[in-house]
């Protein structure tokens, strides 16, 4: 962990890497088969099964509570009791019968997520394309600024941004929620990494064919950037769907609330909507769970893109 350890350790590593590997291949293959020690196998898999069970407990206890009457949550908290006599789907029917604002919040969250994901991806792709494909004056300074914006936590800028939104008249509007986050430094960074890996000859080929600079960007490079788009789409959808702090500051009227804020309002000590609270929370996870099951691969790619490059 500390830097003292790492320095001397690099020496044996480089020594051993000079060894000839090919002659030892067969030996290693045998070694691998021999190594599936049953005790180690039980220990390692046991470790992960316990970890996974621990991760699942909050979900399962939440799911259980979503079937019980709301007052039981306040009285008893969450637990794994199998008190089936109290269970029903009443809470879920409350969600959909329109007696609460829940469906509005769901719609608002969906709309804000879809609009901001589409706009963010398109805009950030264009900006990243400029950085990746061209050399121009001020490029390095501008890209340095992209990195710098990542180094400043959003929380520090939220008060002046809030004042700005008041003066723009964007308080309590979806535009106010969406606009400040549209051009996202880490999305630009990811796209730039991806685009830098593409051969520049594609651009020259396009130019020879008579495409304009923008035509190349949209008709040649964009289609082959699909993997990057998928990874970023999922990541920004996750961010937009779960975003809470900024919408909490911008939105005022209950019918404009997004899911996280709406659910939060149910948590007041005076509220009597605990029936909706847990069922609504569980149901709000659903879209991302489904996306995650289908596009598992892209989640991983999007998440780790920054880390590998360091």
């Amino acid at each position: 962990m500390s830097k003292n350890n790492t320095k001397p350790n690099q020496r044996p590593l480089s020594d051993s890497s000079n060894l000839e590997v090919s002659t030892t291949r067969t030996k290693i293959v045998n070694d691998k088969n021999k190594r599936s020690n049953p005790l180690i196998k039980v220990l390692i898999n046991g470790f992960f099964i316990i970890m996974c069970a621990a991760v699942a407990v909050p979900f399962i206890s939440g799911l259980f509570a979503s079937f019980r009457p709301g007052q039981m949550l306040i009285r008893n908290g969450l637990n794994l009791n199998l008190d089936f006599e109290n269970w029903s789907l009443t809470n879920y029917s409350y969600l959909f019968d329109g007696s609460t604002g829940y469906l509005d919040w769901y719609k608002n969250s969906l709309m804000i997520t879809v609009v901001s994901v589409i706009l963010t991806l398109i805009i950030c792709y264009f900006v990243a394309y400029g950085f990746a494909m061209y050399n121009f004056k001020f490029k390095n300074i501008l890209f340095f600024l992209v990195i710098t914006t990542m180094m400043v936590p959003f929380e520090i800028l939220m008060l002046p941004l809030y004042k700005e939104m008041i003066s723009f008249g964007l308080i309590d509007t979806f535009a106010g929620v969406i606009l400040p986050g549209l051009v996202n430094a880490s999305t630009i960074f990811f796209f730039r990494q991806y685009l830098s890996g593409l051969p520049k000859e594609l651009l020259d080929a396009g130019r020879i064919d008579g495409s304009s600079e923008y035509g190349i960007c949209v008709r040649i490079i964009m289609p082959i950037s699909k993997p990057a788009f998928s990874a970023m789409a999922i990541l920004s959808a996750m961010g937009a769907w779960n975003s809470m702090l900024w919408p909490l500051i911008v939105l005022r009227s209950a019918e404009k609330f997004t899911l996280p804020i709406g659910l939060n309002t149910l948590l007041t000590p005076y509220g009597n909507n605990y029936d909706v609270l847990v069922a609504g929370s569980m149901f709000s996870i659903l879209p991302l769970f489904i996306l995650y099951l289908i596009f598992n691969k892209y989640f991983v790619e999007g998440m780790t893109a920054g880390a590998v490059k360091g």
Binding site: M1, V21, I28, V57, R75, V127, G130, I156, Y292
Partner: protein, 299 residues
């Protein structure tokens, strides 16, 4: 008209058109608020007036006991998340790569699940799992092992434990993913030749995996420092509001929110924000410098 079009479509101008949205957004949503927050921190701002008061806000911070509590909470929380969320995910990633693992993808997918959940949902789940009633899950567990039920959210130590467990639950899978990506970029050949040299599993971990995971570790540590120091919503959800008994759950951003949004004291809140920025920037700079990050960049 034609001329303008030709100008905009030329290879020289095109890059500027591409990066224009960034420049606009930077000006409106970053540079302006940044300058504004710096300037506000030197002002006393009330309804419709603003008075320059120099460093008075910062002087007030020095003697503000509540602010000190917030800083203490945030810093301790950050340090403890680092202590937990670097070694455990690293171990998970290392074990996941072992030949003995039966369902690598399944384990990885399940560990990652909590990261899909918003702070609101996570907070609600943890708030009620740590209910002070005997029927709350965590008290049930304590009782099962013969311990007394706890009023989890009324004491500093147990409250911090809840926040840490929440963070561990949410981020173990994500950090494991980072370290796993870092591991997969290490050449297998190194391990094979080390084995030939007679290095055992522990030595291979210590002399190959750890040093070569350094870039990943730097990345994860840096983002964890930022996330830890800027933590707010977790506490906001666990305690049901920004007010916790004796401020045991108050963080720096929580104090900024209380002063700026709840009490509309924008000047003082801006000073809080700038202190946070300076602390975060200097910690990460010191860390990045000491880990030799910039030397590598020069190459």
């Amino acid at each position: 008209m034609k001329k303008i079009q030709a100008f905009l479509f030329s290879q020289k101008i095109a890059p500027y058109v591409f990066v224009l949205p960034f420049i606009i957004s930077l000006a409106f949503f970053w540079i302006y608020p940044m300058i504004s927050t710096i300037s506000m921190s030197f002002h006393k701002i009330g309804n419709g007036y603003s008075e320059f008061i120099g460093l008075a806000n910062y002087e007030k911070l020095l003697g503000d006991g509540v602010f000190h509590t917030a800083v203490k909470n945030s810093v301790i929380y950050t340090i403890l998340t680092l202590v937990i969320l670097i070694p455990i995910p690293m171990l998970c990633a290392f074990l996941l790569n072992s030949k003995s693992v039966l369902g690598k993808r399944v384990y990885k997918s399940i560990l990652y699940l909590p990261a899909l959940v918003s702070v609101v949902v996570a907070g609600i789940l943890f708030r009620y799992m740590f209910s002070e009633m005997d029927s709350g899950l965590m008290n049930q567990i304590l009782n099962f092992f013969g311990f007394e039920s706890q009023e989890w959210l009324k004491n500093w130590g147990t409250g911090m434990f809840v926040l840490l467990l929440l963070a561990t639950w949410r981020w173990t899978g994500v950090n494991t993913l980072y370290f796993e990506a870092g591991l997969s970029s290490i050449d297998e050949v190194l391990y094979e030749s080390a084995k030939v040299d007679g290095a055992n599993a522990w030595q291979r971990f210590w002399y190959i995996t750890l040093p070569l995971l350094k870039p990943t570790r730097i990345y994860v540590t840096t983002i964890s420092i930022y996330a830890g120091l800027a933590m707010f919503l977790e506490s906001f959800m666990i305690y049901g509001s920004n007010n916790s008994p004796k401020n045991i759950g108050l963080t720096i951003v929580g104090y900024l929110y209380r002063r700026g949004i709840e009490k509309n004291d924008l000047g003082y809140a801006s000073a809080v924000g700038l202190v946070l920025l300076i602390v975060a920037l200097s910690i990460s700079m010191v860390y990045l410098l000491s880990s030799g990050m910039f030397k590598k960049e020069d190459k």
